[in-house]
């Protein structure tokens, strides 16, 4: 009996993090919403029998009814169906652009932080130049040069947003490399690549995880905005952003709420869920914050 009690007290870092995370109701709710949205869009054909690009010119801008639960759009396409399929593209843009940012940001940040010196100076100057720029000013200019498409959208977001991750990684690496275990690893004769992979990266994994979660949220927001301005995902492929283009028409904005509010709400809910999840993750992985007693 006594022994079991002791085991309960001695939790591993991972178990503590898990416990802390599941105590945070909003973070858990966020996780549930994320899973729900991902399932709904990945398995879209299971939830709707309609084709997202099936037009019905006799039934345009129809209000929500039993057959079309969120009504139809300008070309008579079912909005609920397009919302599900649009989720695929919007979430994919968020996730793939995050992966791109992660690849560039972690590589650049680790090298700059680990080696320091002139490499660090040059890299951080580049980071400053990119970060000091208003995102949408440059993103819109880039999108108009490259043309709107999902690939270009991912490239633009990835290329403009990696400095955020690079900065976080660099500052963490600067702290980690002063530790004795790095000196120990060097003394053992490990080369820099081995040290980075087996001693530096595992120690920065949690902050990178949090930063990348939050960058999925901003990726989805950016997709919505750029597609709304006509510079993102091209029709007829649905995305949450380009479904909102409907609201550029004054009459739709005024009279046909079902043509734009659902897509906007989907963006808000998804981004909110990811932000809550990321925030919960940050608290859970932060060794400084303690497990709250009740709450």
């Amino acid at each position: 009996m006594k022994k079991r009690k002791n085991e309960e007290v001695l939790l591993s870092a991972g178990q503590i993090a898990k416990k802390k995370f599941f105590q945070n109701k909003m973070a858990v709710l966020g996780l549930i919403v994320i899973i729900l949205f991902v399932i709904l869009s990945v398995f879209a054909p299971l939830f709707t029998k309609l084709d997202p690009n099936q037009t019905d010119l006799l039934n345009i801008r129809g209000c929500p009814n039993a057959e079309h639960i969120l009504g139809t759009d300008d070309l008579g396409r079912d909005i609920f169906t397009r919302l599900l399929y649009g989720g695929r593209i919007s979430i994919a843009v968020g996730v793939i652009s995050m992966a791109l940012q992660l690849a560039i940001g972690v590589t650049v940040g680790t090298l700059a932080g680990y080696f320091g010196g002139i490499l660090d100076k040059i890299v951080m100057r580049i980071v400053d130049v990119i970060m000091c720029f208003p995102f949408f000013v440059i993103a819109i200019a880039l999108a108009s040069v490259l043309g709107g498409s999902m690939t270009n959208l991912v490239l633009i977001i990835g290329m403009l947003m990696w400095p955020g991750i690079a900065r976080i990684v660099r500052s963490q690496v600067l702290v980690i490399k002063e530790n004795e275990f790095i000196m120990g690893a060097r003394a053992l004769g490990l080369n820099w690549l081995e040290i980075i992979f087996s001693h530096v990266l595992p120690n920065i994994a949690s902050s990178v995880l949090v930063a990348s979660t939050l960058s999925v949220a901003s990726g989805i927001l950016m997709e919505a905005t750029l597609s709304f301005l006509g510079l993102g995902v091209n029709p007829p492929d649905p995305s949450w952003g380009n479904m909102l283009v409907a609201a550029q028409s004054m009459s739709v904005l005024k009279n046909q709420w079902w043509m734009w509010i659902p897509a906007g709400t989907a963006v808000v809910l998804m981004v909110l869920a990811v932000n809550f999840f990321g925030d919960g993750l940050r608290d859970a992985l932060d060794a400084k914050s303690k497990i709250s007693a009740g709450d």
């Binding site: 949408f136 440059i138 819109i140 200019a141 301005l229 808000v268 809550f276």
Partner: protein, 333 residues
């Protein structure tokens, strides 16, 4: 000891300022080069839009040679930069007028919108942030934290559209398009009132996301300070918790807030582009968006350059303010 350290700091401060200025110039060069490269890579010849379709191709070619259309990119960049130093940003292809004048005409409108939303969001955010940090985990703190979360998660344009729909169309409370009522030529106070009415929705929309992120920042940095030992010391010396936080905590949170305020300028200008486009607010943002749609290179370059200068000046200001508030910064490097 005291005197010695002050004179040492003055010398260091001067050196620090020079260094920051040098970096700022370098950044400006870097930024302009990137923008120049991007914009010159745009497909299509924008001058084709300016001439009549039956213009003699040979004549056209000669003119293009003359204005340096075929120069190597670095030379074009150099020429453009030299002219820009004299506030000559070239002619807008779309409007057939000097870019500098067009920007100057619209700049006041953007400034009005940006400053209003900046003021609204700063006051609200610092107020809420301080209250939230004073009473952490109270009902009010929870509601505010939730609202701040929603604020950072909602796309600015979607919030703007909702405002137009609800406050503009459904309730008919406020105008939502342009800066003045078209067809009515108000004078003096009546005009100011008309503009103020048109300002409400765009300013609130633009203030929303800034308020949200600033609330989170103020709250987080205050909460971090609150748990520091010197707050306990101050309380042990007889201050109430509130006094300790406001007198000692705010002083330390000040640093973080300065940085965030200055770093918000790029977001403000970025947001302006979208808010101005939605509310048809005749400012730089709308000018830029139209220029991009019309491939008006000189205009895009001019606006981007201006924004880059503003942003870099703000970054510089943030660094200098920061080092003035915290002497440790300048001794670091």
């Amino acid at each position: 000891m005291q005197i010695y350290s002050i004179s040492l700091n003055e010398g260091k401060m001067k050196k620090y300022i020079c260094k920051r200025l040098g970096i700022a110039v370098l950044m400006l060069l870097g930024v302009t080069m990137i923008i120049f490269a991007i914009i010159r890579l745009q497909p299509g010849n924008p001058f084709l839009m300016m001439v009549q379709f039956d213009t003699d191709p040979a004549f056209m070619e000669q003119k293009l040679q003359e204005i340096g259309y075929y120069d190597p990119l670095p030379i074009q960049y150099g020429k453009w930069l030299l002219r820009a130093l004299h506030f000559d940003l070239g002619y807008s292809i779309q409007y057939n007028a000097p870019v500098a004048n067009l920007i100057a005409d619209r700049f006041g409108n953007t400034l009005l919108l940006a400053l209003t939303s900046f003021a609204i969001s700063t006051v609200i955010a610092i107020g809420i942030g301080v209250l939230s940090a004073l009473y952490p985990n109270s009902i009010m703190d929870r509601i505010m934290t939730l609202l701040a979360f929603i604020g950072v998660s909602i796309p600015v344009f979607f919030f703007g559209l909702l405002m137009i729909k609800v406050l503009g169309y459904d309730l008919k409370l406020l105008p939502f398009s342009g800066i003045e009522t078209i067809g009515k030529h108000y004078e003096g106070m009546a005009r100011a009132k008309d503009i103020a009415k048109h300002l409400v929705l765009p300013a609130l929309t633009s203030a929303l996301t800034q308020t949200a992120s600033l609330v989170r920042y103020t709250r987080a940095s205050l909460l971090e300070t609150v748990s520091e030992d010197y707050i306990k010391t101050a309380m042990a010396k007889g201050l109430t918790r509130k006094q300790a936080i406001i007198r000692h905590g705010m002083k330390n949170a000040k640093l973080a807030i300065i940085t965030v305020l200055c770093n918000r300028i790029p977001d403000l200008l970025s947001g302006a582009l979208i808010v101005e486009t939605i509310f048809v607010w005749p400012g730089i943002g709308m000018l830029n968006y139209q220029a991009i749609l019309k491939q008006d290179y000189p205009m895009i370059m001019g606006i981007t350059l201006m924004i880059a200068v503003i942003v870099i000046i703000c970054n510089l200001a943030a660094d200098l303010l920061y080092s003035a508030a915290d002497p440790r910064i300048r001794c670091e490097e």
